[in-house]
Symmetry: C2
Subunit: 420 residues, 2 copies
């Protein structure tokens, strides 16, 4: 039996979940894998508070050096969250030859290069299955069983909070603000929901998935980002009438010479596998040249699912002779600032002749052709709602066409991309 000594940076929800899983299931895991896990130290802010996890006093420490500088500790698990000091602690652990397991998409995606390079230098492992999709083994799948594939497409529902909000908006015809408040009350959205609802969380995750899937560095800042705060119940209802379901997606595409990386609301055809992934579930759809289409679906958050992924990583870090390390092509592919999509454009217009000519004319001028149009009766002030669905068009062309429209004739309320 191989004994592996761990240090935990943090003992909150995730750290506590890992502590519980090792305590309750560690001896069974040891029988299965030949690896016995021993938590030597856990970093906490205050020794008196450790979530009722019955952690022995000698395990607790308030000094991170007790973990990072202890030569007996082989694997450091980072559960602090946030960019710093998490990134510096991980780097120091790797520098000291300790493998690092983290669930921290923010620190990882922002400091991926320096952490990778330090791991390469010292031969330590860097594992982050829990950073994207919680328990779903998406990182492992891309890096190991699916490694002999040119992955052409990644489409993921990687944020449970926004998926929960959109699912309830669709089911209840409710407005964003109301569902958000309810989700906050239920603890399903943070008091400050910005990281989730504005798409930052998905942006970090797509940076990680894109980098390892496309074998070129996809920096966080290069990922286009748009959240769900401007979505209203009308968009969802009109989309549904036309056969679409609204999701916040992280989309990555490898177009050969360049990469697409974008997080934004998307209308998916109702029969797309991602369309029925509801509530707080996460799912990642992949297309590879050899495996073809695949989807992995599961719990993207929660103490126990996250702990499942982390303990899986710890076992691999303990067993692997060669730690998986993403290979990046010699010539990095640029992340494109334009892309092709179809578009759902909702606008209000005076119910009078000339409106259609204005809209279709401006679209044609920008090379955009319309595949479907729907008009809703005029409201009391004489304005009708018009919905256009375009054929494939360039993002920039659509933005320009929308800007070019005569505001005296029509006002665009929302533009939503249509994929799948």
């Amino acid at each position: 039996m191989k004994k592996v000594v761990l240090g935990l940076l943090g003992l909150g929800n995730i750290g506590g979940g890992v502590w519980d899983l090792i305590r309750e299931f560690g001896s069974e895991t040891a029988k299965r894998t030949g690896v016995k896990l021993i938590v030597k130290k856990a970093l906490v802010l205050d020794k008196r508070i450790h979530g009722g996890k019955e952690v022995p006093d000698e395990v607790l420490t308030t000094d991170y050096n007790d973990i990072l500088e202890d030569p007996e500790i082989q694997i450091v698990c980072e559960f602090l969250g946030g960019e710093q000091p998490a990134a510096s602690y991980m780097k120091r652990a790797l520098e000291n030859g300790k493998s690092v397991v983290t669930a921290n998409k923010m620190a990882l995606s922002l400091h991926f290069d320096e952490l990778r390079e330090m791991a390469k230098k010292t031969g330590a492992g860097l594992y982050y299955e829990a950073s994207v999709g919680g328990a779903i083994p998406i990182i492992n799948a891309i890096q190991t069983p699916l490694i002999s594939n040119h992955i052409e497409q990644i489409m993921g529902i990687v944020n449970g909070t926004t998926n929960y909000i959109l699912t309830r908006m669709a089911a209840e015809g409710a407005e964003y603000e109301d569902v958000l408040k309810d989700a906050q009350r239920l603890g399903l959205a943070e008091p400050n929901p910005t990281a989730d609802v504005e798409g930052y969380d998905a942006q970090y995750k797509l940076s990680i998935l894109g980098s390892i899937g496309f074998h070129t560095r996809v920096n966080v800042d290069d990922v286009y980002r748009e959240g769900i705060t401007k979505i209203n119940s009308e968009d969802i209802a009109f989309g549904r009438e036309m056969g679409y379901v609204l999701k916040l997606l992280a989309i990555g595409k490898d177009n050969g010479d360049s990469i697409e990386a974008r997080v934004h609301p998307v209308f998916l055809p109702a029969d797309h596998p991602l369309a029925r992934v509801d509530g707080s579930l996460n799912a990642v759809y992949l297309y590879g040249h050899s495996f073809k289409d695949m989807m992995l679906e599961g719990r993207g958050a929660g103490d126990a699912p996250t702990a499942s992924a982390i303990v899986g990583d710890i076992i691999q870090a303990a067993q692997n002779a060669i730690h998986p390390m993403p290979y990046f092509q010699e010539n990095p592919k640029p992340v494109a600032d334009d892309w092709q999509s179809r578009y759902f454009i909702r606008m209000k217009a005076k119910d009078e002749p000339g409106v259609l000519a204005e809209v279709t004319g401006k679209m044609a001028k920008n090379g955009i052709s319309v595949s479907a149009m729907m008009q809703k009766d005029a409201d009391p002030d004489g304005k009708a709602t018009l919905i256009f669905i375009t054929h494939l068009a360039s993002e920039k062309a659509v933005q320009k066409a929308v800007k070019d429209l005569n505001p005296d004739i029509c006002q665009v309320d929302n533009v939503i991309r249509v994929e799948g």
Copy 2:
């Protein structure tokens, strides 16, 4: 760069797919993994026939000893199919210290114990990702990222042919025999379809999934098996009216003291994740105590998806210091010959008083309670169709109740289990 020398047993569809993937994507895979794959020998029946794969003549051999006994060959890939000589060849390769990669669910599930033991003895690796679910990394997921879980439930659509047939029967209201013939014409079902339609293929696969997922040997013969040949369009139509979708499932449950392992048609609620996995797609739904619910979906067959899984296995066999080896608990759990399910029971009965009393009486006597009943108008000969859905009941009790029914009053046409 680590060079790894391979021998391929077979160069048909799957072997040819692997040859192609290595030839076309091998140098990219080598950059990503540090492992360069070299196919030294490929066993064929006739050197003149090798599928137009442009395999150099010196690679082809008709003598399996050129592969099994060549000390330079490190990994043997078995694509012969069938039980023998595939199993003997794999055993011999392992005996000679070569790792084995196989897609052969039949040989593997029937000879799992001796192959495992030989691998243990010599320290060689035994890899079989492609044996269940094609490209879907389900074996890897269970053995690696999800290892620290008590897996309570496995439910899989693991046979593409039957899923294709059932999907078309549902979509077209067509009968089994007609869709089967069409599937055969399209090459989607074998000329002799028994292995698929009678559930043998799924039985082998469940034996493998159950053994590694529940950590106890699930022998092929212990898996209850029932195919789709008795399903007709009425079953599917009535099920749909009641909100169910019909699938052939491989079901494994760990009930603590015993295991359930059964392959049979199942009615799933229409909103179950497996219910919308259509056509030739495969999918496996898992429930683990820590990761909770998860589903992996993708291509279960086809040259390219199978090759994706096999090359993934080859790379792991080349890189792993410790080959994954399923751990079986000291006290094997028995596979139960009875289980709890809900049941859909379709029968014909005279349209007269006393029928309901007979049916519900016999059910009550056997401890079964009814949760829903539907009656269809009598046909010209005065017989009405009755459908009963039961609450949870024991399989044996239901079989007994059905046998006890007075054949002068009602005749049971089909009994289909309802799960999920």
